[in-house]
Structures are given as structure tokens and as C-alpha cells.
Symmetry: C3
Subunit: 467 residues, 3 copies
């Protein structure tokens, strides 16, 4: 039964020692670092009763857990089921999509708890974590899942872990610059998560350009049921996006408002995506790729402004535009990027995250610049933009300017970081597959034997190579 | 590669200009109407700090967002994943099931926010929306998803959008009559959502009767994996139904009680569904159609009474009965309706929504009529039925009578509305497919090429028509 | 079209009268018992306004519903979608996995509400139920779902119902001994749910040993898409496990802490599972069986200690170890148990629940024994272990001893109970299938006709038996 698979495969893709080594060493490092640094926040610590007295809280329901845990769980589902299943559309890469996403996210959240903890939750030499840290760690990993979309099917699991290590680090630095140094608002992460994550991933895939990728073109497509699996991912991302954009907003009206704005933007986005998907195909048929992806662009594009007074109709307009931009991107821009700029973007993250992320940053800057005390109320105005302390005198227009600067910083970090990481991943030591074996689970996974006789595996490498 | 598909197809099913036109124009209309009318409710507005002071609230946790948002998200999942995947059981209509459901629901929630807003949240010329409006919009769209179940596979996406436009409008009128004019309780929507939605859909499908539908009989069935996809929908509907029936109940005991009653009813319903599914098949084998659908009837049937003091054993009895009624309906009534009354009900919504919805209305009327101050407590009695203001003197038995009247009103609205909308959809301009191409994604969707060589596509229209 | 299926099948597997009889009679019994015993808890009863005054609560948000309902829904998803879909990995047993799990859980939660109610919520002759009872009923049924994993594919639905009846009963007795008599903590159920459930199931499958099971070996494996369906189950279990372990912890810090610890443990577990899955396969390829199961062991193993001050790095260590133990178990122990001890464990629950459950019990005992007033704070210490009333003077080390005793009691109950139930299930009256028809949906389900011509059903019994 044991026979040579992939006879034409020159590269050594065996993960037998490399993957275990990386996983075990890095996990031991996590344990040591957590042991040194990570403790519970006062709201998760057994001293909570004392904390409650000190903060004059009368009820356990005031614990941040009850404000944010349901949103956290929704975000958690988006990262693991949402992104994981969205990428199962490829006919022979479902294990890799959902399995490698699982691996990189499980590592990434640990490293993100540390990196973000050092920047934001460091007190007396300890990182104190609570539910908001878990959400932020999931957010950070979300940007890695986005970048994974660009290189899906073309990298080894070790490359993905290396990518995660670097990207989480750079994400945290970029986030610190934006949120702390520039003092800008980006609750749903249009800039920090989507713009950064997408341009980072696109730069990486550009550097890892594979000239012979058309050798696996027959596997870079879907089958009927893989498209349905992908729709599970799409719908969970779409449904829970209001939780994503509101998860770390201020308690009360800001969380409430962010959820409503996102709901509206996403609803509008579905309509324009369907419209353009049909319009741009000569027989007017809808394309699953668009439905699976472009319908989500509306969520990306209100990531910065959802917690602001964007208003429901403002959200509809943003969603309207992004459905169009994203769908048109899939039809015209993705092929152009591949053929002319050598950017091979497996999932089309440029259309789903990069452009809508940029739009989101711009919409956020405009919404911030247009804020008035009249619209927000005197207290609401200060609370919404945290114009306190050193920022007491900042005006909306200045805030708008800083928001815009945040876009530029995110882009620069993405390009520079992506170039660096791309160069590291290009080293010939990571066990990535040859071009003809891309988009094929068989390289890194035990695939059920009887599958080989299935109708939908006519193009498996074993068979095409057998005499 | 481009060759004529569907040579035998006389009808023009191309959506190329029609669908984009409808989607874009209607979405623009939504933006204009939202711009004129829709603003944030005080709990989602940046003036919330002032509101809090005015209402003497001491904590942000008192924001309605924290009472209802988790239930909202569960309802959201039911509408998009629940209904969407429940309908993927057809072997060649998965894209249409989940994709068209996505389209109509995304449009429907916007139009419902407006329609329901004008009736219920209109203040000083503006519709003020908060999380409860989002839930109600999802509820309203739920009734459209139900109607979609009757005509699944036989209509074009434009017809579904037209249906949605009309049905949401009529739903809102009916809801206004029931809740405001008759002052009846229907938190889980046995009458407003299920009875109305199902009889509306059945009337539409009766009017759209296709005499030659047996030409596509080979596609009106499932394959092994499509049945598993459908079970995803079933389970999410089943699990989250307690959230559905409690989502808009009064804070506190009513929400709590509604969840418990629904949980009990659904549990009992599974047992009797399994019992009758096995009993009615001559070899005693279970039928996936029953498990996918009849197990949910218990949730439908406590929609009105779940927030009342139905008690857990009362809920079990309701679930017990509905599992039987629904399963027997699938075995005997659906074929009868089709052959004798020409009601072609693709998903059997008559068994899952229509009959259990009626039962739910009746159970609600009886439970209301049987209410006593002893069982509810003096305050609880008034609060449960909102016997305040003009309704201060209404007695339980009168309330029961009004509840019963609500069933009749819902039925009349459904028949009249369904007849009207059915007539509109019969116009030969909407691009619906010919009888032999029903239940076939290929008509409106780009379907993966290699599927055609798959074993489970032996009956695709291209092939059967090719010489 | 009707032709003899399973010609080689000697046993009568028809459920036609047996299954309906059991379902209907038992459901009637439930109704009677609920009618006699079950009422709403004060927080779900219409007298809540009076209760609020008595308890000096100022807001409806203090209702336990708002503390626990989101966690309840996550647990509910784990039981029905999590366990149900996790077991769909078999290529021809998806209906049975998800359908029978649905059946036994729907019955089990009703019986658990009664059994646990008599032990824990009995007041003035009535069982008063609220959201915490629903969670506990789901927990109890979780232990049945675990046991189902060992006998998956080899039992009739009636056997599963009988198993559920007995196991829920024994679970409740064991839980009462542990929580009330020994006064131990086990919020996430390492002992009560996992250790008990797994060793119970393993004992049952040992007694039901089938010497000729290799006759259906060709069906005891997965196909490509069945592995993806199983990943839906895996991910929902993995993502929602923090809710599972925190669902019934004390309000405030304990719930918060339990979620964080579980999140950390699960993350570490993924890394070591991937490492060992790759390391133990000679080409270094990852095995879906490990990814689907061993990644969850970290959640099991912090079930007792998650609400304690285990600390994040302690959780990482537990997850680290359990990923290894569980994966090694799949590779070496499962085949050994089958060949030497005649324990046929379809899903490998020994690796996912039994060993990690034991580890969880031990970790809990150690963590309790190591507790100090310094770490917990004076109040926190008393609250965490409920050292009040008769237990006022219990010390941590004594508590640790009692915790350890809880493991032993759970094991004894599991072995004795499993032996008893196994003997009952061995009676030749339950309609289980012959060895060659195990792992085959066709025995108890109407399976879509056209499937038989599909590529992935080459080994269906009909065909292999036909001349």
C-alpha cells in the first residue's frame, strides 16, 4: 500500500522533525513567559470582592466579563470557524484551510496576549489579563488569518507559524503607535487589523511569487460542497461582525451603536455585491466567490467609524460602496495584480480586506473630523474620542488628521514588515511544496485513502504522475 | 469551453440587468429613507450619559443592549444560518438556498427596520432604532424565510426580492393590528411570524402552481452530504429557539421563563418526531426530512405562550403534540396538498410552520384566558399582559378572545396578501426557470465546472438534453 | 425499486414498533413527572417582582438569566452541534452521529432536569428550575454524549435511550456524592462529566465487545468531506469550552477566571497535538483524527481547576501535557485497548475524555490543596471553596484529599454502572445491527437512493453482498 507519492516532487516537504520542534519549543517559551509575566486582572482574580469594595461596585454584574463575554465568543467563532471555513472553498485544501488556521491562531493568541500585554496591560512587572485581552488577542490573530488568505495553499505550516510570530509582533507595535502615540480610535480595526493585515499579506505573497503556479491551477478552484462549507465561514463572519466592531468599544452607547452601524453596513453590502456579481458575468449568473467574500466588505469598512455617530444611513452608504468596490476588485483587479504585479492572492484579500480597510480608515477620519458637540453631546463628545488629559484640547479636525496618519503608518508597517517576513519565508528550509503540489492537502495531511477513487480527485498528483 | 447550456429552456432566466437594477435602485431607496427617517435610539446615541441621568440609571449595564444583544445574535444566526442551511437539503440547490436566503434577508431587514419603525418607534418624525429593532427586523424577515421554503427552487431571485418587499409590508401591518389594536401578546410570533408567514407562502405557491413540476422531480431530493448540511440549519434553529421566543419579552422573569418553556417544548418534540418517523415507515427507518423539520415544531407552537406561565409540563405537552402533528403532516398531508389542492410546498412549511403556528396561537389564547392573579401574582399579572392604561380592565378571558381573534386576522392577511403577491409574481417578467430546470443552481449561479463529471450530477439538464 | 437490502443480515433491526413505543411511553412519563414536580424558580416565575423586593435587588439585570444565559447557549451548541458533528467523521454514519445524538440528548435533558432537580433544587415538594438547571441538564447529557462516542455505530437507537436513562440516573447520584457529600468543586466536570462519562462508556463497550467487528472495518473510516463536517464539531467544542467550564461558576471573578484558564489551556493543547501528530507519523503528515480530538483535551483537563487560581501559565502547562497524552493515546493506546483488552472505542474517548478527565481531577486536587489565603484573599478563599457552615474549618489540604476521593468515587461508579448497563444492553431485544452492518446509516435511516451510485459508497453492504 505504501507507494511513492509525488514522484515529481523535488522539495522535501516532510514536517516530521521541523514542525514538532517549532511547536514544542515555542510552546515552552510561552509557558516560561506566561509564568514570568501573566497574571489575572483584578476582575478575574480571587481578590475581586476587595476590588468591588474599592471601586464601589454593588453587583457582580458590573464585572467587565458580563459586558464583553458574549461579544468575545462571537469574535472567537469568527477567527476559528469564520476564517477557517471561509478558506475551505478550495476543493483539495479544506484540511489545510481549517487546520492550519487553527494552528496559527492557537499560537498567535498566546503570543498576542504577551505582546499586547506588554504594551497595554503591564502593571508592576506583570501583564494582567481579563476578557478584553482575550478579545484583543483574537483581533490581532485576525490580521494573521487575513494574511494567510493571500498565501493559502502555497506555504508550509512552519512558514505560517513564523509568519504569525513576526506579524503579531509588528501588529502590536503598529497598534501601539496608532492607539497610544497617535491617540486614534480604531475599535473594529479597519486600520490595525484589515489594512495592516492585508497589505502585510500581499507583500509577503509578492515576495514569495511562484512563476509556475499555473501547474496547480486545476486545484485552485472549488467543488460544489466545498463552496457550501465556505458559506459557513462567510455567514458566521457576516452575522457576528457587529460583535467584532463593538467588542472593545466603551460600555453602553458605544457598543450599542457600533453593533447597529455594522448591521446596517453589512446589509447594504449584500445587495450591491449581488448586483455587481450578476452584472459583471455575461449571462448574469452569480459567482460564489463574490458572495462568499465581497458581502463582508461592509463590515471591514465601518471598523473604525462604527462606534462613532456614523448614523445608520451613513453605514448603508459605506456598505453600498464597498460591495461594489470589492466585487469589481475580484473581477478586474485580482487578475491584474497576478499577471502584472505578480501578486498571487489566493483568497482575494485585496478586495475583501485591503481596499475596504483603506476605505474604513478614511471613513473613520472623516467621521471623526466631522464630529461636533451638538451631535455627540458635551459628555458624549469627550467620551467618544477620549479627549481627556493630554488630549483635552484636541479638536475633531486634528483628530481626523491623526486618524489619516494612522492609515499611512499602518501601510508603511505592512509593506516594511511584509518585505522582511517575506524574505525570511523565502529561505529554503521551511518545507513548502513545489508549484505543482500547491493547494493540495495530501502534502501535509493524511488524506482518507478511498478519496483517491472519487470523482473529484481526478487531478491528484499521484494519478497524473503515474504512468 | 462556452457551450449552450439548457438547450431545452425556452424561458429567459438571465438576471444580468434585472437583478442589478432592482438591487441597486432599492438599496438607494433604503439609503434615502434611512437618511430621512432613521436615527439611533437614546440607548445607542452618544447622548446616553444624559439619558442615564434622566432615567436615574446608575450603570451602563442597564442599557438594553446587555439585556438583549446575546439573544439578538442567536436570532441572527437562526435567520441566516438556520433557515439558510435548513434549505440546503436539495442536492443541487444549495447555492440558491443559502445565497438567496442571504439576499432576501439582507434586504428584508432594512425594509423591516423602516416599516416596523414607522409603526412602533416613530418619535418626532424620526425612527429611533436600538437592539430591539434589530431583533424585530430579523423576526419579520423570518416570516419571509418561511414563505421562501414553500417556493424554494421554483423562483428567481428577483421574485424573492419582490416577495420580500410585499411580505415585510404586510407583516408590519398585521403585526400592528395584533399588537397595538388588539393588544395581544405574541413575543415568539406563533401568529405574526409563523401562521402569517406560512399561509402567505402557501397561498403564493398555490398561485404559482406548476403543473409540470414532475419534470424536475429527480432534483427535488437530497444526497447524503446535503442532508448533513441541512442538519446544521436544523440544529441551530433548534438550539437557539429559546433565544428566539425570549428575545423581546420583558426584562427579567419573562425572558427567563420564555427560554425555559421553549427548551422543554423542543425537547419533547424530538421524541415524538422520532417515534412517528419510525412508525410511519414500513421498515421502521427514520426519515431525515422529519428529523430536519418536525423536531422544530415545538418551538413554533410555544411562540405565543412561552413567556406566559405555561409551565414546563405544559410546554412538554405542546411539544409532544406538535412533533406528532408535524411528522404526520409530512407523511400524509404534503402529498395530499400537492395532488389535490395543487399546493407545491418544497420544504413542507405547512407541517413545520402553518399547523404548529395555529396550535401556538390557540395555546396562547387558552393560556391567556386561564391566567389568574394567583398564578402570576398581582404585579406579575398586570406586567405579563400589560393590563395598564386603556386595558386596565381587560380580563383574562377577554384577552383570550382577542388572542383568538389575532389568529383569524393573521390568516386573513396571509390569504389576501399571498393572493395579491402571487398574482404579481405570476407576471412573465421575473425570469423564473422552466419546470424542468427547477431545483437547479445552474440556472442562476456559476457552478464549479468539474462538478459535471461528478457522480451526483447525472441528471443535470445539460446532460439529459444533450443528444 | 424495493429490493432486499442487507441479505446477509440475520438480526432484526427494525425499529418500527420498539422505538416509537419507548419514545412515546417515556415522553408521557416525563410529562407526568414534570406535571407533579417541576415548576419555575423564583427568577423565572411571574412573582419575580415580589422576589426582587424581598432580595433587595434594584434591577432586572440581577436575574441569574443575564449572568448565565449566554454561557448556557454556548454549552447547548457544544452538546448538539459540537458532539453531534464531531462524530460525523465516519463516512457512512453521519445521520446516526448527529441524529441519535440529537435523540438521546433531547431525552436526557428532560430526565436530568428531574434527577438533578430532586437532588439539588427540591423545595416544598417541587423542583424549581431556572437557567442554571438547564446548564446542568446539558452537562449531564454531555457525559452521555461522551459514552456514545465509544459505542458509535454499533448500537441501536433504543439501546442509546436505555443507556441515557441509566447513565443520567447514575450521573446524578455520583454528582450528589461528589458535590454535596464530599463537598468538592468540579465546575467544569473533569470528574463528574468526563471521567465518569468516559469510563462508563468504555466499560459498556467492553461488555458489548464484538469479535467480528473487522467485517465493517471498511466503513470505520472517514472521507474527505466527512472530516470537514467533523471539524465543525471540533471547533465549536474548542471555541465554547471556556463557556462550558465557567457556566456554573460563582458570579463575578470565578466565571471570568474559568474562561481565561480554559482559553489558555486549549491554545497550548493545539500546539502539542500538532507536534505529536506530525512526529508520530513516519512522513510527518498530520492526522485529522488527532486534530479533531486531542486539541480538546486541554479543555477537559482544566474542568475542575479552571475556576480556581490555576493561573494562565498553569493552564498552559496542563494543555501542553494533555495534547501530548491524548495524541500518543490515539497512536498507541487505542489499538492496544482494542486488541488486548477488547475495548472497541470508536471515537477514542479514552484519549479525549478518560485520561484528560483523570488529569483534570488530579490537577484540581493539587490546585485546591495548594490554595492559600494569600493568593485568594481572605474572602476569596472562603468563597472559592465555599468553606462556610459545616465546612468552615476545612483546610486546603483536606479539600485536596476530598477532591482526590472524588476521582475514585467517579471511577467506581463508572465501572459498576457501566457493567450493569452493558449487561442490560447485551440483551438480544434491542435491535442492534450485525457486525458487518456496523457504522452504516442504512440500517436505521432512509438514505438517499442516488447515493448508492456514488463513488464513495463502493463498500456499501448491499453491493459487496450482491453476486
Amino acid at each position: 500500500i505504501e507507494r511513492p507519492r509525488h514522484p515529481g516532487m523535488a522539495k522535501n516537504t516532510s514536517m516530521r522533525w521541523r514542525l514538532p520542534l517549532v511547536c514544542l519549543l515555542w510552546e515552552v517559551a510561552m509557558i516560561v513567559l506566561f509564568g514570568v509575566f501573566v497574571r489575572f486582572s483584578p476582575e478575574a482574580d480571587a481578590h475581586w470582592e476587595e476590588e468591588k469594595r474599592e471601586m464601589n461596585l454593588t453587583s457582580d454584574i458590573e464585572n467587565d466579563f458580563y459586558f464583553r463575554y458574549p461579544s468575545f465568543q462571537d469574535v472567537h467563532v469568527m477567527i476559528f470557524v469564520g476564517f477557517g471555513f471561509l478558506m475551505t472553498f478550495l476543493k483539495r485544501y479544506g484540511f489545510g484551510a481549517v487546520g492550519f488556521n487553527f494552528l496559527l491562531a492557537a499560537f498567535g493568541i498566546q503570543w498576542a496576549l504577551l505582546m499586547q500585554g506588554w504594551f497595554h496591560s503591564f502593571k508592576n512587572g506583570k501583564i494582567l489579563i481579563g476578557v478584553e485581552n482575550l478579545i484583543n488577542a483574537d483581533f490581532c490573530v485576525g490580521s494573521v488569518c487575513i494574511a494567510f488568505g493571500a498565501i493559502l495553499g502555497k506555504t508550509s505550516p512552519i512558514q505560517l507559524l513564523v509568519l504569525t510570530l513576526f506579524q503579531v509582533t509588528l501588529f502590536s507595535v503598529n497598534e501601539y503607535i496608532l492607539l497610544n502615540l497617535l491617540h486614534i480610535k480604531d475599535a473594529g480595526g479597519s486600520m490595525t487589523i484589515h489594512t495592516f493585515g492585508a497589505y502585510f499579506g500581499l507583500t509577503v505573497t509578492r515576495i514569495l511569487y511562484r512563476p509556475n503556479l499555473e501547474q496547480s491551477k486545476d486545484k485552485q478552484c472549488s467543488v460544489y460542497h466545498s463552496d457550501l462549507f465556505a458559506m459557513i465561514g462567510t455567514l458566521y463572519l457576516w452575522m457576528y461582525w457587529p460583535s467584532f466592531n463593538s467588542a472593545i468599544s466603551e460600555h453602553g452607547d458605544a457598543q450599542h451603536r457600533a453593533a447597529i452601524n455594522t448591521y446596517c453596513s453589512l446589509a447594504a453590502c449584500v445587495l450591491t455585491t449581488m448586483a455587481f456579481s450578476s452584472m459583471l458575468q455575461k449571462k448574469g449568473k452569480l459567482d460564489m466567490v463574490h458572495i462568499q467574500n465581497a458581502t463582508l466588505a461592509g463590515g471591514v469598512a465601518v471598523g473604525t467609524s462604527a462606534e462613532m455617530m456614523l448614523t445608520p444611513y451613513g453605514s448603508l452608504i459605506v456598505g453600498f460602496i464597498c460591495g461594489i468596490v470589492s466585487t469589481v476588485g475580484y473581477v478586474y483587479l485580482t487578475p491584474f495584480l497576478e499577471s502584472r504585479l505578480h501578486i498571487q492572492d489566493t483568497c482575494g484579500i485585496h478586495n475583501l480586506h485591503a481596499m475596504p480597510g483603506l476605505i474604513g480608515g478614511i471613513v473613520g477620519a472623516i467621521t471623526a473630523a466631522a464630529a461636533t458637540e451638538d451631535v455627540y453631546g458635551k459628555e458624549g463628545f469627550i467620551k467618544a474620542f477620549d479627549f481627556t488629559g493630554a488630549y483635552q484640547t484636541r479638536t475633531p479636525s486634528v483628530q481626523g488628521g491623526f486618524q489619516a496618519a494612522g492609515i499611512v503608518v499602518s501601510l508603511l508597517m505592512a509593506f516594511a514588515g511584509g518585505a522582511l517576513v517575506g524574505a525570511v519565508l523565502k529561505l529554503p528550509i521551511w518545507g513548502d511544496a513545489a508549484a505543482e503540489n500547491c493547494f493540495e492537502d495530501d502534502v501535509y495531511w493524511e488524506v482518507p485513502e478511498d478519496e483517491e477513487s472519487d470523482a473529484y480527485h481526478m487531478h491528484s498528483p499521484d494519478k497524473s504522475a503515474s504512468p
